[in-house]
């Protein structure tokens, strides 16, 4: 067994979450990686990043990428978005309305320190039965709805499936195009 074997195991494992939603947590945190690899001391994180750098190059031939979930900061492995595009594997194929609602919620959450009011989504989307869309997104574990406070936030689970940086870049390009 070598360090790559340990990394592969930790980055592809799932374990049940502690919170009430009991969602599976994928991958590993920096602390968990260092603990399992026995990297200790001042340079533990540098050592880890060097190893992950080599590892990501080694797995790139399989079209796998090493990524960090921006919502819970866990490292995990994923296939490149090009592959997903080829195979149309996103769950919104044939459901553009749900995708558009998620797109709106995500953008609003990212620019409003994480939480938004349900009414703000209703106003922007301006469609009937928007609550149905939100419930479907909640069921798919992409958003969290707080009924008492009428607020929505992003479920960290979404961070595994969306390239957030890519999303912001595309959004910025679209806004630029419109402003030109």
């Amino acid at each position: 067994m070598n360090e790559y074997t340990i990394l592969m195991h930790l980055l592809t494992r799932t374990k049940q979450g502690i919170s009430n939603d009991k969602l599976d947590i994928i991958g590993a945190s920096v602390e968990e990686l260092c603990d399992n690899l026995h990297f200790t001391g001042k340079f533990a994180k540098i050592q880890l990043h060097e190893l992950m750098d080599q590892f990501s190059k080694a797995i790139s031939i399989f079209n796998l990428q090493l990524k960090q979930n921006p919502f819970n900061f866990r490292w995990y492995l994923t296939q490149s978005s090009e592959i997903e595009e080829i195979f149309n594997s996103n769950p919104f194929n044939g459901k553009p309305r749900i995708a558009a609602t998620l797109c709106t919620v995500l953008s609003l959450c990212l620019t409003n320190s994480g939480k938004i009011d349900i009414n703000s989504v209703k106003k922007i989307r301006n469609k009937k039965d928007i609550i149905k869309d939100l419930h479907e997104l909640e069921k798919s574990n992409f958003i969290i709805m707080e009924k008492k406070s009428n607020q929505i936030s992003i479920n960290p689970n979404l961070g595994y499936y969306l390239d957030i940086e890519g999303f912001l870049n595309l959004l910025e390009n679209e806004i630029r195009k419109k402003n030109l």
């Binding site: 592809t12 991958g27 796998l64 558009a100 959004l171 806004i175």
Partner: protein, 226 residues
């Protein structure tokens, strides 16, 4: 001209383009420049390296400023609100997801010990037995005679035919006759799998009415007529 000086010239050119506002750094791949610099740095050309570092820090400073600008653009709620309010269709927004959707690789049911044991069984055992003998002293890239490649199923076939020979005296017989119950559970299932294969390959026949297995006339592969 050394590679380091060539790099210095490229970085200086980029810096000047940025300073006069001709180039945006947002889409510029700085990482490859710094990786190249990291690989070329040497004690003998310390002065050039320092100049590159000097220009590099200026470029980084500008990149950070541009990023800050980008973030502030994104954080301008009004622009985003306007964009979503005026967006042409749901389809246009949904298209964004096609480009950025990814699936995490998850192996939830395989424990580390399972993977290690599988690796030992599938790779190490095979390597240590037939393959080493067959490929011994032969260069990997040599023109291998294809007939010399090992047949993965050969040992199984051999065992299967040995089993067929061993049950010869008790045929025709029932399933209980053929599977020796005195053996361990592993051998029991092994013998059972031979019977299934022998039936499928046509070496054994089964009569439903009598529940008896018997030989067929099919000859065992590789055996000459006796």
């Amino acid at each position: 001209m050394s590679q380091l000086i060539s790099l210095l010239e490229r970085i200086s050119f980029l810096k000047n383009q940025v300073l006069i506002g001709k180039k945006s750094l947002l889409d510029e791949d700085l990482e490859s420049l710094f990786v190249e610099f990291k690989n070329l740095i040497s004690e003998s050309e310390l002065e050039t390296s320092i100049q590159i570092m000097n220009n590099g820090t200026i470029i980084l400073e500008h990149k950070l400023e541009e990023l800050r600008g980008f973030i502030s653009l994104i954080s301008q709620k009004n622009q985003i609100l306007e964009y979503f309010k005026n967006s042409s269709s749901d389809e246009a927004l949904a298209k964004i997801f096609n480009k950025i959707w990814q699936s995490p690789l998850s192996l939830p049911h395989f424990s580390l010990s399972f993977l290690t044991k599988s690796f030992e069984r599938l790779v190490l055992n095979k390597k240590s037995s037939n393959l080493n003998i067959i490929f011994k002293d032969k260069p990997i890239l040599a023109n291998l005679d294809i007939r010399e490649l090992p047949e993965i199923d050969k040992p199984y076939k051999m065992k299967m035919f040995e089993y067929l020979n061993s049950i010869h005296p008790i045929l025709p017989g029932t399933l209980d006759d053929l599977i020796n119950n005195n053996h361990s559970i592993d051998v029991y299932y092994e013998n059972f799998s031979y019977i299934l294969h022998l039936l499928q390959l046509g070496y054994l026949s089964f009569t439903k009415n009598t529940q008896l297995f018997d030989f067929t006339n099919k000859k065992i592969e590789g055996k000459s007529d006796e």
